[in-house]
């Protein structure tokens, strides 16, 4: 029961100093899952590196070191080597992380907000409104996800902005469905009924009773989806639908290194590893959060 999280809260909150101890207890349970902790560590490092890129990156990401093309890892201080035109790969990964994270996290957050609105409306109102919203979203399930993203970005034209729009489109149906299912199962539960009996209007019921119970599962789902969207965004960039030079993200780095695959595979390998690592890390964090919110589902 996802709903039990919020219902149980007041009982715990009754003891003094409760918010701190609740947080501590939650952290304790999260920390027991070593995969989640490793995931969180990776996400933290990558996000910090991206934010402070100019201070963290050892070299200028765009400077082309003459005579150092496709240098292997470790050569002349280039920890991960250089790419096909002699640029430092590590620095490019750090700066590229800004764009890669931006085009995966932003659409997920925006899509979550849209889905929250649609899902709450459909789940709370029920009846015709529910039917219309959900049937319209159902159509999107008939597409392979990546293909729909390629269609939208392909029609709009390349660039990070359109990449973000395409990802929002593919996410909203999935997220809205999760919110709606959650709301529909909560709508007739006792605590909502009780609020209604005390004279709470729809706004109050949605804001005070439904929203707090929906937001947790949605955040978990969004975290897992960010991992998946890192892959989708990288795929779009790889396909030439994302960043265009001189700007570059991880997916684009893989594509531009494709030409030197037979002579210097590390040019392709480094950004590839980065994509997989960060996608996995978000997945682990999401799984850890899910166990936190749904202790009964443990072992799944």
């Amino acid at each position: 029961m996802q709903g039990s999280v919020e219902i149980a809260a007041p009982a715990v909150a009754a003891s003094p100093g409760a918010p701190d101890s609740r947080l501590a207890e939650a952290w304790h349970r999260f920390a027991a899952d070593w995969m989640a902790v490793v995931g969180l560590a990776i996400v933290t490092v990558v996000v910090l590196a991206a934010v402070f890129a100019p201070w963290v990156a050892p070299f200028d990401p765009d400077y082309q070191y003459e005579g150092l093309r496709r240098a292997g890892p470790g050569v002349e201080g280039h920890l991960l080597g250089t790419d096909e035109v002699g640029r430092d790969i590590l620095s490019r990964l750090i700066f590229g992380g800004r764009l890669s994270l931006f085009v995966s996290v932003t659409p997920t957050v925006i899509a979550a907000l849209i889905a929250l609105g649609l899902g709450l409306a459909a789940g709370y109102a029920g009846g015709k409104i529910d039917q219309v919203i959900m049937r319209a979203l159902d159509i999107f399930f008939a597409f392979p996800v990546v293909l729909l993203a390629i269609l939208i970005a392909g029609v709009l034209g390349p660039g990070p902005r359109n990449q973000i729009i395409a990802i929002i489109f593919i996410l909203v149906p999935y997220m809205a469905r999760v919110v709606r299912t959650q709301v529909a199962s909560l709508r007739n539960q006792d605590f909502v009924e009780a609020a209604r009996a005390t004279g709470a209007g729809p706004g109050e019921i949605i804001g005070h009773e439904l929203l707090p119970n929906v937001i947790g599962p949605l955040i978990v789902y969004a975290t897992i989806l960010v991992g998946f969207m890192i892959l989708v965004a990288a795929g779009l960039s790889f396909f030439g639908l994302g960043a265009s030079p001189p700007a570059s993200d991880w997916g684009y780095m893989v594509n531009s290194g494709k030409g030197s695959i037979s002579t210097a595979s590390h040019v392709v390998l480094m950004p590839s590893i980065m994509i997989v690592l960060v996608a996995l890390a978000f997945n682990f964090v999401g799984d850890g959060l899910r166990t936190l919110l749904d202790p009964h589902g443990q072992g799944q």
Binding site: F140, P144, I150, G235, F238, K258
Partner: protein, 328 residues
């Protein structure tokens, strides 16, 4: 024996169900066509100009605008477009100067070859790994398999494909780097097969990993049921319990999951075809995007999406044949 009439009845039920599902697929297909059509409204600027390409003259753009009916309301435009699409007219590709349908024709066959190869690998591999993991749960095999499938499910197709190229084509030289046939003296079945291995494996592995994980959890779920305990308590051999009892009942979810993975496979194949220069629909899609040839992009996505809907339909019917409970 009474067996034949029973089989005949099952067959009739299935045929009826298939027909009903086919009818039910029509609104879905209409929805898909609507989404593909409406995406064209996202084209920045003049659609007619975008479809004809940068070299079109002002007069031809004007004429094309009338042909598409751009001055009429959107629902009317959609019906005109749908009517043409149903007759196999998906417009003209300006970059290759040929009808989109003609351009996609051969490529559809090539994509089908790739997908067939990938399916033959993905489903048996995924089901086998999932089954063994479930039967030997919490053993080193299970842990290794679940770790590997977790990583494999998170590797984008293009990364995995490039990895395979590096190892098996560039370093070991076991398979060709790209293409579908050898330009010199190629073309035989063996040559095709040789070219097919890496692309098929690339497309197959991520879905296979997801299938394996789902099969494992579906099997564990069934194996915890009471009737399995009862079968064990009755002293049935473990092999009979797992294979005849548990697997048979876990089969419907397994088929559903495998069916869903075909969508994943179709999306992945787009990247595979680009990496391996496999002349399929995905490769056409990539070239269409590069040239901003919107008609090709639209046509390719429409064809693949329709394919996806039909595959899901087939999966439903297969499931019905396997699971009498779903026949209703």
């Amino acid at each position: 024996m009474g067996r034949v009439p029973f089989a005949g009845r099952v067959y009739r039920v299935l045929a009826g169900y298939a027909a009903r599902r086919l009818l039910g697929a029509i609104p879905v297909l209409l929805g898909v066509s609507m989404v593909v059509f409406l995406c064209m409204q996202l084209v920045p600027g003049d659609i007619a100009k975008a479809l004809l390409g940068p070299l079109a003259t002002r007069e031809s753009v004007e004429e094309f605008r009338r042909y598409l009916g751009l001055d009429r309301p959107i629902p009317e435009q959609y019906i005109t477009w749908l009517g043409r699409a149903l007759r196999g007219d998906l417009g003209l590709s300006f970059s290759s100067n040929m009808p989109v349908t003609e351009l996609l024709g051969d490529r559809l066959r090539n994509s089908a070859i790739l997908l067939g190869g990938a399916l033959i690998i993905a489903i048996p591999l995924g089901v086998a790994v999932g089954l063994i993991s479930a039967i030997r749960r919490e053993t080193p095999f299970d842990h290794a398999a679940m770790g590997a499938t977790l990583i494999a499910a998170n590797i984008p197709t293009f990364v995995f494909g490039l990895g395979l190229v590096i190892v098996f084509a560039v370093q070991l030289k076991w398979f060709p780097v790209q293409g579908m046939t050898d330009l010199r003296g190629g073309g035989g079945r063996l040559d095709l097969l040789n070219h097919l291995v890496l692309p098929a494996v690339t497309t197959a592995i991520p879905p296979a990993a997801i299938i394996a994980r789902m099969v494992r959890s579906a099997m564990l779920e069934t194996m915890s049921q009471e009737y399995i305990k009862a079968a064990r308590a009755n002293g049935l051999p473990e092999r009979t319990v797992t294979l005849s009892y548990a697997l048979r009942n876990a089969l419907p979810p397994i088929v559903t999951i495998s069916g869903l993975q075909i969508g994943f496979l179709l999306g992945g194949a787009v990247f595979t075809e680009y990496i391996f220069a496999w002349p399929g629909v995905g490769d056409a899609l990539y070239k269409g995007i590069l040239a901003r040839d919107i008609a090709v992009v639209q046509g390719a996505v429409l064809v693949v999406a329709v394919w996806f809907v039909l595959v899901n339909l087939a999966v439903d019917v297969v499931n019905l044949a396997l699971d009498p409970r779903a026949r209703g």
